[in-house]
């Protein structure tokens, strides 16, 4: 694989192009051409297709699109171009599974393929959801770390420091990022899992300097830093600075791509192709140990809509059949905690992801943006479902996902708000309310009775 520094050279010396030209005269026509050439069409009736040929066509379309388009560097206003041989070289030498975490908490991140019986990796945690209090922060991390199916922790996002709102790029941003790491480590220690890996370092950090500062206060080499591309097929120096630092520090990288359905990539077919194209970009530019996709609906702000589930499923199948880089899917659901709908949404996208070759990060509620609207309970059920459906056929999963979509998709625009963490759980002890546990058990029974999902007895809430 070509070195990161060769990529940097290309960012500095590649073909000059305005951002507008890149978007409308390069990206859009190349994507349309690739979709048409390979006959990729969205099928709303089958959110989890079982079509290997479609998956391989999406992959091929993605590779052709990447070669023709490249990646745009917004700081230099140049395109970073890759030849097909360089892409193949990256794919041939990319990682195919890594160990994250340390001591007794170390776990292997597996490479999976569609319908794989290998248990998926489960990252648990609030998935960067904003929190108002350090007490909630520690208790939430602790509760997630107590989920025995959780392999890694996702940090929430701290919003206040010393009573002041955190402003990214300011000293409060540095302090917030450092404190977030320390609080996460403390939460895991309290759960008796001090070696559990952080997999989204460092959420409260907006900029490279905040990542670097926080790294010195508790991010380990066995943790992963989360570094993302810019919508779509763009990077900037701040992103590349994070990569440069992570390479020097020896950290693993979760390479994040949240393609926007309705944005430059257009509809579900475009989202699937661009997500596939990101796979080698994640190797070549972000130097990822994991591809971390979350195709998100532009209007609904979720990954649990029918068209985003289709795009995710198809892209997962395309990538996992053709690349060894493990995929960990992230999910953003619309409903708030302690609602039946949130359980359904999480289960739908998790099932689609796992049977399509992915692992999962479960998962954000209330679109991952509403202050304190997060809980450890729904992600627990989602992780149980993720394990239970490993090895399930895509056809069977398709029927379940369709049935789940029918239960909630009409409410995606105006979902039930649910309750804040401090309302649905005791904020001091961290324990969910009895009523919440009953809802969890009820949905769990429903998943078993209606869909035949066989759960293990690992849940701490049984």
């Amino acid at each position: 694989m070509i070195s990161f520094w060769t990529v940097v050279e290309r960012a500095l010396a590649g073909p000059i192009c305005t951002e507008r030209d890149f978007e409308l005269n390069v990206f859009v026509p190349n994507l349309r051409k690739a979709i048409e050439r390979h006959g990729i069409k969205y099928d709303s009736q089958n959110p989890v297709p079982a079509d290997d040929d479609l998956a391989d066509r999406v992959w091929e379309a993605g590779m052709e699109f990447l070669v023709e388009t490249g990646v745009y560097c917004v700081d230099t206003e140049r395109r970073i171009l890759f030849r097909r041989e360089e892409i193949e070289g990256a794919l041939a030498s990319g990682p195919c599974g890594r160990v994250f975490g340390e001591g007794k908490d170390a776990r292997v991140m597996p490479r999976r393929v569609p319908e794989d019986k290998t248990l998926p990796w489960c990252s648990v945690g609030p998935t960067s959801s904003p929190l108002s209090s350090e007490l909630y922060y520690v208790n939430l991390v602790k509760a997630h770390a107590e989920n025995p199916l959780g392999d890694g922790i996702t940090m929430p996002c701290l919003t206040m420091v010393n009573g002041q709102p955190i402003v990214g790029g300011s000293p409060l941003g540095i302090e917030g990022a450092i404190r977030a790491v320390l609080l996460t480590r403390e939460g895991m220690r309290r759960a008796g899992r001090p070696g559990m890996p952080i997999v989204n370092g460092v959420t409260t950090a907006a900029r490279a300097q905040e990542h670097i500062a926080a790294h010195r206060f508790g991010i380990r080499q066995t943790d992963a830093l989360e570094i993302g591309t810019i919508h779509e097929m763009k990077v900037d120096f701040d992103t590349m600075n994070k990569v440069a630092y992570s390479l020097a520090a020896g950290n693993l990288i979760f390479a994040e791509n949240g393609v926007i359905l309705g944005g430059l990539s257009g509809g579900p077919a475009g989202v699937a192709v661009v997500t596939a194209a990101y796979n080698p970009v994640d190797l070549l530019i972000l130097r990822g140990a994991v591809q971390h996709p979350f195709p998100t609906h532009f209007d609904l702000g979720v990954t649990s809509a029918r068209d985003t589930i289709w795009a995710r499923s198809v892209a997962n199948q395309a990538v996992t059949r053709n690349s060894t880089l493990p995929v960990v899917n992230v999910g953003y659901s619309a409903a708030g905690p302690m609602t039946r709908m949130l359980f359904y949404e999480h289960c739908a996208w998790v099932i689609a992801s796992v049977v399509s070759g992915g692992s999962v990060e479960v998962g954000a509620s209330a679109r991952g943006t509403a202050l304190d609207y997060t809980s450890p309970v729904e992600p627990l059920l989602a992780s149980e479902v993720a394990h239970a459906v490993a090895g399930m056929s895509r056809r069977e999963a398709n029927d379940i996902v369709k049935a789940l979509l029918e239960k909630y998709e009409s409410q995606l625009r105006e979902p039930p708000t649910g309750q804040k963490y401090q309302e649905c759980c005791d904020p001091v002890t961290g324990k969910p309310k009895q009523e919440f546990l009953e809802l969890y058990l009820d949905v769990r029974r429903e998943m078993a009775d209606q869909f035949g999902i066989q759960f293990s007895s690992a849940s701490p809430y049984l």
């Binding site: 409308l24 990214g168 900037d236 509809g267 209007d299 943006t369």
Partner: protein
Amino acid sequence: MSDKAMFERLYNAIIAGDRKGLEQAVNEALKEGIAPSGIIEKGMSPGMKEVGDRFARYEIYLPEMMMAAEAWEGAMQILEPKLLESGSEWKRLGRVVIGTVKGDIHSIGKNIVGAMLKMNGFEVIDLGVDVAASAFVTKAEEVGADIIAVSALMSTTIPQQKNIIEHLEARGARRKYCVLVGGGSTSQEWADSIGADGYGRTAGDAAALALKAVARKQKGARA
């Protein structure tokens, strides 16, 4: 070609985002003696509205809206001098200064809102991403904006929306502009807490808010 057929051609060129085709149709319409205001009102504007409606129904997406907006702007470069010559002008619904706040580089949501506003007849001045608070205010003052639309995705960048309102207050210009906020981490509660005039969760919400804001402003001016 009948006027009706010409208006249909203009309408279709907007929907197709066909800048060259639209410019050609505009030139031919002018040659045939159709008034510039008629070209806009009966051909191009209905096309823009249709593009916005199709986007709202998820039938088309951002690229189609961007192309339609580009086609519109190309045509207006031909039509604006003609409007001036004829002593009339095309009155846009309002003028919006839009951007993503300092420290935030997320552009797609802002671009979708900007395109949606154009489809609804607004002039949109896009400052891009990572925009300083003072730049929003300076540009709004310079162009005589009606609305300042501020996007921020992250919980650590939304405080910059409040900063813009404080800059407006410091310049004694707060009451001149309707300030709309949006982006992933924002909410109605947040908008209320910082004294913004409106919050839009979606691009459709933003367009509706902008329409209401200019209607309020015009009503205020008449009163």
